[in-house]
């Protein structure tokens, strides 16, 4: 029945497939993607491999390719300074994430109470995120400097014994980093939570009000559990920021006093570029990558699984 009219479109399609412009048209999307993909394959995956190869070599000031197996990793784990940096990352990252989540969630919930001037407040909480971490480091370094900063300010108010020497105290300097980093990123977490809160159906609050739940109960029992995916994303992003933290340390403490506030990122930079230990530096970079993968893989896994459900 359709035999009479089907050959026509089919032959036309065939002609199109054979014509040069037709096949070019078909290839175009791939051609457009190709440069980016090539770039990614080379500059991301190729480099990862390259750095991994370097980490297996005895490279010093310059890259060279005498393979010594995993000896650099053994050296790395035996390196006191690396261990300090890794421990610092755990302390810094842990505190940073917890404080940002707490402050961000608190601010978001408070701002969600039909606050007048909400827009202005939101802008104020979030602006540090627009600053360079170098700027953040420079200003906090000034505020926290023991001679003329907060310490002297409080002393001038009459508390002569007040000491606030986190920047120069090797035990406390890491908390100065946490403080500046939380100041910078907590507004961002607030924005994430606020967006999450705004996407919650108003009627949930209404239903809970009819059920007789007080406002704190509504948040604790109903709203916050709904924000689980946001918490997940926020933790993931914050952990990522923490692992990559380099600028802030350079500007705020320079890794000091001594190497008390070294993080893996600064460790890697110092060993690769100033100490001329490219092999060891590369090994530390690979360890950082492993750290990122350790949080990324479960995240992506659950994301993809979640998408299949939804």
């Amino acid at each position: 029945m359709s035999q009479t009219d089907s050959p026509l479109p089919r032959s036309r399609a065939k002609a199109a497939r054979h014509s040069l412009s037709g096949s070019l048209e078909r290839m175009l999307p791939r051609l457009v993607i190709a440069p980016s993909l090539a770039v990614a394959l080379f500059f991301v995956y190729g480099y990862m491999l390259w750095t991994f190869v370097l980490s297996l070599t005895d490279s010093g000031m310059l890259p060279q390719y005498d393979f010594i197996g995993f000896a650099q990793y053994a050296r790395l784990f035996a390196n006191e300074r690396w261990n300090v940096a890794a421990t610092n990352l755990v302390v810094f990252g842990g505190l940073f994430i917890i404080l940002c989540l707490f402050l961000g969630l608190m601010l978001a919930i408070l701002l969600d109470q039909r606050i007048r001037q909400e827009g202005a407040l939101r802008t104020i909480y979030l602006y540090p995120m627009a600053l360079s971490l170098i700027v953040t480091g420079v200003v906090w370094r000034w505020i926290l400097n023991p001679g003329l900063g907060v310490e002297s300010l409080v002393r001038s108010w009459g508390f002569e014994d007040f000491t606030f020497d986190w920047l120069v105290n090797p035990d406390m300097a890491i908390y100065a980093l946490v403080m500046a980093a939380v100041w910078q990123a907590s507004g961002f977490v607030m924005a994430l939570f606020l967006a999450g809160l705004r996407s919650i159906d108003d009627n949930l609050f209404k239903a809970a009000a009819l059920d007789g739940a007080s406002l704190p109960k509504v948040y604790w029992r109903i709203v916050i559990p709904c924000l689980r995916p946001v918490v997940f994303s926020a933790v993931m992003i914050l952990a990522h920021i923490a692992i990559k933290s380099f600028d802030l340390v350079m500007a705020l403490t320079g890794g000091g006093p001594g190497y008390a506030t070294d993080l893996p990122a600064t460790f890697m930079y110092t060993y690769t570029f100033t100490r001329g230990e490219i092999g060891l530096g590369s090994a530390s970079a690979i360890m950082m990558l492993c750290g990122v993968l350790a949080i990324l893989v479960p995240y992506l896994y659950s994301e993809l699984r979640g998408n299949k459900h939804g």
Binding site: D201, N203, L204, K206, A208, A209, L210, D211, K217, R221
Partner: protein, 376 residues
């Protein structure tokens, strides 16, 4: 004493007035149904009753007490939301029990209540699922269950059955009716379903644009509508509206059906039943009016006997015939106006045939053309 008394309630959102001077007294144990087109303010009125939206002005009394500024929890109301509003992080059991828990009911009693409503609503196998794992109809039943688990003074139901399939819907309708008879609780119920409205309601309130146009028993609203909107809104298929002119004759009033297409032909004239001669009708002599006739008030004149001829016999051409099973809907043109008629299932009419009908004028109604108010 009325269970719920709404006095001159206004509600505005920004510049739009959504409720306009609503006054409504609902007796204890009464089943009141709110109907009206989408966006007319039904949900807003429910929210105002529950204290979920503060009213702009007016008062709300429950059990004789002014509750206008009481919190929802203090009003002792349970509500089924149009959008269900199930707590996504809790399973069905926790959803149903949450209100009881907040009211400090002991655990054992809570579980009993959950089991009871789960059984009633046939959701026992779903108790451990999260709302996201339920179908629309199942969610709706859980939302019902959450309200039914409590024993409040007033239930508010905002289209609780709209997402159920036809069979379950009829079952649930019966369940709700039984429940109401058993508990005797006051219920305010929103629906778009005519049958639900007619079968469940003690009284029906018809709303439009934030106003209550008519409040009355289903029979009143159906057979004695105050205006064309109510008449047209209630009933499906809806009432036929036929433009006529009122003519006075020696033996009473006659409605002359106007035929725009064929002004020269002999006009059809329908006698107005003498028994219904309304006092005011003489004012309208010579004026254009709208005659309202429900589809079921046409009867096929099988006998074709001339003896009982009272002038209400019509001869029309069937254009469309729609058998619904229980009866047959017939579309025909009556002097230029499309009308729908409901005939018995045994009718043999086919499209394109002429058919003889009678109109039961004793049930017909008349409206003004300008403001569409009822004349007689």
């Amino acid at each position: 004493m009325s269970a719920l008394n709404i006095l001159h309630v206004d509600k505005t959102f920004g510049n739009t007035q959504v409720l306009k001077d609503i006054s409504l007294a609902i007796e204890s144990g009464e089943f009141l149904i709110l109907v009206g087109p989408s966006g007319c303010g039904k949900s807003t009125l429910m929210n105002a009753i529950a204290g979920l939206e503060p009213v702009t002005s007016g008062d709300i009394q429950i059990g004789g007490e002014d509750v206008t500024w009481r919190t929802p929890a203090e009003r002792d109301i349970a509500m089924v939301f149009q959008s269900y509003a199930l707590y996504p992080s809790m399973n069905v059991r926790q959803n149903i029990a949450f209100g009881l828990e907040m009211r400090k009911m002991p655990k054992a009693q809570r579980e009993e209540a959950v089991a009871r409503v789960a059984d009633l609503l046939q959701i026992t196998p779903l108790l451990d699922r999260k709302p996201s794992q339920l179908s629309g109809g199942q969610r709706q039943r859980v939302a019902m269950g959450r309200a039914l688990a409590r024993e409040p003074q007033i239930y508010l139901f905002d289209e609780p059955l709209s997402n159920l399939d036809a069979k379950l819907r009829v079952e649930m309708r019966t369940e709700i009716k039984k429940l109401h008879q058993r508990l005797g609780t006051t219920i305010v119920y929103v629906t778009h379903d005519q049958i639900e409205a007619m079968t469940l309601a003690d009284r029906i309130a018809v709303m439009r644009d934030g106003e209550i146009l008519q409040l009355g028993t289903p029979d009143e609203v159906y057979n004695d509508p105050v205006d064309m909107f109510v008449a047209g809104f209630m009933g499906s298929p809806s009432m036929n509206f036929i433009p006529v002119t009122l003519v006075s004759r020696d033996d009473g009033y006659v409605l002359r059906v106007l035929d725009e297409q064929d002004p020269t032909g002999a006009p059809l004239e329908l006698p107005w039943p003498p028994a219904r001669e309304a006092q005011a009708l003489h004012e309208w002599v010579g004026e254009r009016l709208i005659l309202g006739v429900r589809p079921e008030h046409f009867v096929e004149d099988e006998t074709r006997m001339e003896t009982s001829f009272d002038g209400t016999r019509l001869d029309v051409m069937a254009t469309v015939v729609e058998p619904t099973g229980a009866d047959i809907l017939l579309q025909a043109t009556l002097s230029g106006t499309e009308v729908t008629m409901r005939l018995g299932p045994k009718s043999q009419v086919a499209a394109g045939e002429r058919v003889a009908l009678r109109v039961d004028m004793s049930r017909a109604v008349l409206f003004e053309t300008t403001n569409q108010r009822r004349v007689a």
